[in-house]
Structure formats: structure tokens, C-alpha cells
Symmetry: C7
Subunit: 97 residues, 7 copies
């Protein structure tokens, strides 16, 4: 059973971050409190070719925390873990503290 | 909880300016008085690659006051603050006194 | 309150010319007499990048009187004045006596 | 009142030729006899930029008699005269005796 | 009355070949017998500009017998003769004995 | 009556291979047994121009046995023979024993 | 009867991997357990031409185990074996243990 996926072209493999429903002190967070649709980059493809054959590298890298669009992404199950594949241009930005 | 977002590609992060409903002297402004859909640029992406691999920088910069289109933009909540993500080509212009 | 707008990319800011309903001698002009949809260019953007990163300047300039398409244009109110934003390629031509 | 229009980009200003309903000898021409949709070129724009920023001149010139497509063209009234604006690529060809 | 048309860009002027309904010996050909939609090239345009401003000549020439698509083509009457205008890329091929 | 067609641009003229309904020993083949939609390349066009005016040759050649898509292709009757015209990019591959 | 297919352009010939319904020890796997839509690359085309006529090689190679999209692919039967043809850009990634 395959455990690792190397994305092709400019695809990005992301493991979604499930926002905590309680604070660290155990207090239930209100349902509507800010739920960022974010995830951790697990693997990136080599990038796309531009019209002149140069390769345009993917704009995010392994380990980045990224903001994901509300829709889209292809679900991929590797073993028991669930991941999502996005195209580089659909990743909205990188998140930082 | 992430507090900062660096947009990807040619995306622009904007904090909308809520037009005052009263004048500085406290007089209620008529509902229909000119309501510019504007905002402050908070962060910009590195820009897009053109066909030859050159990067085309975003045409507005952090701190600019910009005129926004009536529709579009992706809502992003970072902590308690609300922002909107636009593509560079959707920003209509920069506003000046 | 912002009073000046510098358009982005190849956008053109135009102040529409309202055709006179009477002749200079005060005679009412027939409703259907030629009503050119025209305006004065107030400001232009820096232009668009072509595929090789060169900037293609806007084809009209501040002060030009231009023929506008029947439809399109984004309405923009700056203070009490009303303007319209067009893309360079939508301006039909420059008008001359 | 503007009397002259210089088209922008690759637009072509044409004055349509109204085919005679009678022969020079005054004989009524049958309704269906060949009615070429043609016109005289009055003014042409500077042309379009190609991807490398070169300007591609318009393929017809002032004074040419041209064959027009059945549909399309923007009507423009300058003073009492009626003209039509076409894009260069919509002009079908030049007519010669 | 114009008698000659020089097509613009990559347009091709064709005079359709009407397939004989009888053999040379006068025998009626069955209705369904092979009816090639073909024609004679009468005039060709100078060709299209590619992205770098080079002109790509039309791929057929005056005098060629060409295979035409089942649909498309703009009808043009010059004097009493009927022609059809096609774009170069719509001509299917050249016919030879 | 034209007997030969030289395709234009990147078109490919193919004579479809009708799969045998019986084995060489005369045994009826089951209706559903593998029916490859294939054909013999009879003639190819000179190829398409790319953006820089270079000609990209067609990827198959006369005599190749090719796998055809399930749909598409323009039927062409030359004399009593039936052929089909495909665009190069629609040919799925070349078949070999 | 053709037994081998060499794909054209950037097409990829894949033999789908049918996931085992039982573990090696013979225990029935739950229907919903992770079913990766994957396959083995059997043959690849020469690649596509970019705008400058350079050939962009296919991003996967013979022998790779690849992750396939849920939909798409053209079914091809060669002899008794079933294969699927995909375009290079539709292959999601390469799978590794």
C-alpha cells in the first residue's frame, strides 16, 4: 500500500489543520468563532513549464502553513491519513504568527 | 492562531475602510451620500510570472488606499480582524486626497 | 474623503460630457439629435504588461475628448463629482473639431 | 460639436456606400439585385500591440473601398453624418473594379 | 460596381465547383453519388501576423482546387458571380487527380 | 473527379480499418470482442505554425496504423473510397504488433 | 491484431491497479477501506511542443505507479488486456512506499 505521494506539475499536497473546538483550558469555542481553512504543506510538485520551457517553481514549500480556498482540492487517502491536492495558484497565502 | 497572512502570486490583502455614518461634527450623513468601496493595503504577494518567467510585481503596495470593485474578494478572518483578498487586476485604482 | 483616483493597469478615468439640450441661442434641440456618448479623460493608468514584461502604455491621455461605448464603464463618485472607469481597449476613439 | 474621430487601436471608421436603387439611365434596379455591404474607409487606428510590444498596423487604409460583414459595427453620428466603427479583423476585403 | 475582391488577413475567396448531375455521355448521375464540397481558389489574403509580428502566409494559393467544410463560409456576390469567403484554417485540403 | 487529397495544416487523412467479423479460420467473432477504432494514415498536412512561425510537423506519418478517438473526424469520399480527416492532436497513438 | 500502443504527444498509457478485496492473510477488506485510484505507466508519448517549438517531456515514466483522477481517461483494449489513456497533466502524482 503506497504511503507517499509526490505531486506532479504544480500540485501541492496538504494535510488540513482541524481547528480546536476547545481552548487549551478546555473551554468550548463558539461554533462561529474564526475557523481558518488552513493546512500544512506535505509535498510539492516540480512546477509548471512556461511558454519557453523554463520551469516555474511552486510558490509554497514543504512545512508551510497555508490558507486554503473554501472549495476545491482533490481528496487523497494514503493509508489511514487523509490529504488534499491543490494547484499552486489556488493556495491563497502562507500563514504566520 | 495565525495572525499574519502573506498572499501568494498577485493577491492583495486589504482591510476595508468603513465610511463614517456621521460627519466629524456628529451630523448624520445621508444614507446615499458617496460611499466609496475602498480599503487599506495590508500585504501583497510577490507577483505573477509572465510567459518568459519574469515576475510582474503587484501594481499597489502596502499602505496604499485603494478603490475596490463592487463585487469579488475573498473574506479572511485573522484573529478578530476581517480582511479581504483581491487579485491585483481587480483593484481599480489608488485613492489620494 | 479621497478626491483623486489614479487608475491601475490600463484603466482610464473619464468625466462624461452631458450634451446640451438647447443651442447656444436657447433653441431646444430635438431629443433624437446626435447625442455622442463622449467624455473627457481625467486620469490614465500606467498601462498593461505584455507577455515579455514590457509595459504597453494607454492609447489615450489626460485631456483627450473620447468616444465611449454605449455600455460598460464602472461608476465612481469622488466627493460630489461622478466619473466612469473604462479599460483602454473599450475607448472607441478620440474626438476632434 | 466634434466632427472628426480618430479610432483607437485597430478600429476602422467606415462610411457605408448606399447601393443605387436605379441605373444611371433611371431604370429601377430589382430589389434582390446584388447589394454589396460595402463602405469607404474614412479613418484607421494606429493598430494593435502584439505580444512583444510591436505594433501591428491596420490592414486597410483611408480611401479603400471595403467589403463589410453582414452584422456588427458600432454606429457613430458625427454632426449630420453617419459612420460605422469596425475592428480590422472584421473587414472582409478590399473591393476593386 | 466592384468586380474584384482582395481578401484581408488569412481569408480565401473560393468559387464553388458545382458537381455535374450527368456523366459526359449524358447519363444521369445518382443523386447520392459522391458530391465533393469543393471549389477553385480565386484570391487569397496576405496572411495573419503571429505573436512576433511575422506574417504567416495562407496555406493555399490562387488556382488550387480545395476541399471545403460542409458548413461555414461567407457568401459574396460580385457582379453576377457568386463566391464564398473562408478562413485559411477552415480549408480541409487541396484536391489532385 | 479528384482522387487525391493533400490535407492542410496539421490534418491527417486516414482510411479506417474494418475489424474482421470472422477469424481467418472462418469462425464468427463475438460481436463485443475487442474492436479497436483504428486506421491507416494515407496523407498528412505540412503541420501547424507555432507562435514564432516555426512549423510543428505532424506527429504521425503515411503508412502508420493509428488508434482513433471514438468520435470526431470529417468523412471524405474520394471516388468510391471513404476516408476520414482528423486533426493531429486527436490521434491517440500508433499501433504496433 | 495490434498488441502495442505508443501514445502520441503528451498522452500516458496506464494499466489500472485493482486493489485487493482481501488481505494477504485472506481476510475480507471492508468495502470502504482506502481504494486508491492508481495504475502502472505502460508507455508515454514524446511530449508536447511549447510555443517555441521545444518539446516538453512527459512528467512520468514507464514503470511509475501513479495516482489517477477519479474521472477521465480513454479506455483502450489491446488483445485481452484493458488500458487507459490519460493526458500528462491529468496524472495527480507518483506513488511510493
Amino acid at each position: 500500500m503506497a504511503k507517499r505521494l509526490i505531486p506532479t506539475l504544480n500540485r501541492v499536497l496538504v494535510e488540513k489543520i482541524v481547528p480546536p473546538s476547545k481552548t487549551t483550558a478546555g473551554i468550548l469555542l463558539p461554533e462561529k468563532s474564526s475557523k481558518l481553512n488552513s493546512g500544512k504543506v506535505v509535498a510539492v510538485g516540480p512546477g509548471l513549464h512556461d511558454k519557453n520551457g523554463n520551469t516555474i517553481p511552486v510558490s509554497v514549500k514543504e512545512g508551510d502553513t497555508v490558507l486554503l480556498p473554501e472549495y476545491g482540492g482533490t481528496q487523497v487517502k494514503l493509508g489511514e491519513k487523509e490529504f488534499h491536492l491543490f494547484r499552486d495558484e489556488d493556495i491563497l497565502g502562507t500563514l504566520h504568527d
